[in-house]
């Protein structure tokens, strides 16, 4: 049978962002995939070098709007390490609460989108209805629905009021019950299970070799979670379980996320009960000399910000490594041998976020002709960067 090429993207209803995949298809079966990433490239890492840490925080937040708290937290951790600042304990707890809220909304969003991808509109609407509850609590806590700059270098921007804490304690257990019900739907309803069980299987050892992170690899039975393996903030004081599933298919990756939703509600409630008193912010010097590294478990996996300051008000170099970028080789393996109709579901199961992925693509790869064009930093500076 002859092979044909199927192009999906850059604008495609199954991709909620501009990105292109070239599938080599034989009949109904996918035999090879060539991703073409880079459409979302905005030059953030270079732009970061022109900003102080106060401005840079807003830029870091806008790497990805869905997991914005993870990015600000990671950025703040890196700069705090470079400046050698210790954050007050109350701020650490508040950061954990905002971070987990962010994860909750991200997971509910993905599960809803997954239901939509398989044509299960009702479940999509139900997930997004309950997500609105999270959004309104997040808004009361931080001041905005999505992007809020809640974490700042040295602490957080707002304190939590006792009435809001009571409100969260009242609302979240109700949400817990609803999510439990959805978990039952996801594990029993044939509309969901027949589309996902044994679709996109990949083994844990292969994913480890390909460098996958986050819920993607936890769905193949590998217990990697930065909150557990390398605790940051106050995760070493909070008891929680790391969710893993052994199956390794798309179903397992979705189930990891819904179980994490239940787990993180417990984390938030525990953190609210054990919130210490004290200040919520410390002062950070304006000029910094040093090197810092922030590692955070973002909703999609491990996130890294690495920053080097050489005594100025702006960083000398800031490097970001995002989870979806690490998961792309893994997902390309998952497609192989499955049907064209399964493509959106498999892609959805890694929770792709291409806004994260594309920041500094220096290599320009032409997929059709296979020619590579690499530019040196000097060439880029001459061509694009006149400041």
């Amino acid at each position: 049978m002859s092979t044909i090429s199927l192009i999906i993207g850059p604008q495609h209803p199954a991709l909620h962002e501009a990105e292109r995949f070239l599938f080599k298809v034989e009949g109904e079966t996918v035999i090879d995939v060539i991703p073409r990433i880079g459409y979302m490239h905005r030059g953030i890492e270079k732009l970061m070098e022109t900003k102080t840490f106060v401005e840079g925080l807003y830029l870091a937040e806008r790497i990805c709007g869905i997991c914005n708290v993870a990015h600000t937290l990671c950025f703040a951790e890196a700069v705090e390490q470079a400046a050698d600042v210790e954050v007050p304990p109350r701020a650490k707890y508040l950061r954990v609460i905002a971070h987990e809220f962010n994860r909750l909304h991200s997971h509910l969003l993905l599960l809803g989108v997954a239901a939509e991808l398989m044509g299960f509109e009702t479940l999509f609407m139900l997930f997004w209805r309950d997500r609105e509850l999270v959004m309104s609590l997040f808004e009361e806590l931080t001041g905005n629905r999505v992007i809020s700059a809640y974490v700042r270098v040295g602490g957080v921007t707002r304190d939590i009021s006792p009435t809001l804490a009571d409100k969260i304690k009242d609302k979240l257990p109700k949400l817990y019950k609803r999510i439990e019900r959805y978990k039952k739907v996801l594990s029993e309803d044939p509309t969901f299970t027949t589309r996902t069980i044994d679709v996109g299987y990949i083994s844990g050892s292969k994913l480890l070799a390909l460098g996958a992170v986050g819920p993607t690899i936890r769905g193949s039975g590998v217990k990697i979670d930065l909150r557990y393996t390398d605790p940051y903030e106050v995760y070493d004081e909070i008891p929680f379980n790391v969710i893993t599933y052994k199956e390794g298919d798309s179903w397992a990756r979705y189930m990891v996320r819904i179980d994490e939703c239940l787990e993180l509600i417990n984390i938030v409630l525990y953190a609210l009960d054990h919130l210490p008193q004290g200040p919520i912010c410390t002062k950070v010097p304006r000029t910094i000399e040093g090197e810092g590294e922030g590692r955070v478990e973002a909703p999609r996996g491990e996130l890294l910000h690495h920053t080097i300051w050489r005594g100025g008000v702006t960083p000398w170099r800031h490097r970001v490594r995002t989870p979806t970028y690490a998961n792309i080789p893994g997902v390309c393996e998952m497609f192989k041998g499955y049907h064209v109709a399964d493509i959106p579901i498999i892609l959805g199961s890694i929770d792709p976020c291409f806004a994260c992925t594309d920041r500094t693509t220096v290599m320009l790869l032409d997929v059709e002709s296979g020619t590579k064009k690499t530019m040196t930093i000097g060439e880029i500076k001459k061509k694009y960067w006149r400041r």
Partner: protein, 146 residues
């Protein structure tokens, strides 16, 4: 008012083009379609193909790489067509201003009818933007005056 224009006002179909912003606006556009805000009750439907759409919603800053695609999608839409720029990125580039890879606003690439500022704008603001556009269409393109 002819029957075509009457029908267009009652049920504008939208196409969502996510260009390289941060996704914050994309999820707010999607949230506007879901139960709490529910724009479908006004007959506004999200369509997957540019050939079915009346309104193009662009979120995020336009990078040099997607500019060509965006133009092509705009050209594929049937006349008359309208463009809404959602979010400060689409209005003027936001924090990405000064990056050599990003245009400072969608209007550098395709004509825009309604601008919705905000980072990200709330779903209510997005609905208000669409309603403003509908008023504009009703008034023969006269900036929403009755």
């Amino acid at each position: 008012m002819g029957i075509v224009q009457w029908a267009r006002i009652k049920s504008p179909w939208i196409l969502h083009f996510p260009s390289p912003g941060c996704n914050g606006c994309d999820i707010e556009v999607l949230a506007a379609l879901t139960p709490r805000y529910d724009v479908e009750r006004f007959g506004i439907l999200l369509k997957p193909s540019p050939r079915h759409a009346d309104i193009l919603i662009v979120t995020g800053a336009v990078s040099k790489q997607v500019a060509k695609r965006l133009k092509r999608i705009y050209e594929q839409m049937p006349e008359p067509k309208f463009v809404i720029a959602v979010g400060t990125c689409a209005v003027n580039g936001n924090v990405f201003q000064g990056s050599p890879f990003v245009y400072e606003g969608v209007d550098r690439v395709i004509p825009v009818d309604v601008y919705i500022p905000g980072c990200p704008p709330r779903p209510e603001a997005i609905i208000h933007g669409i309603v403003t556009l509908i008023k504009k269409i009703k008034g023969g393109g006269n900036g929403g005056k009755k």
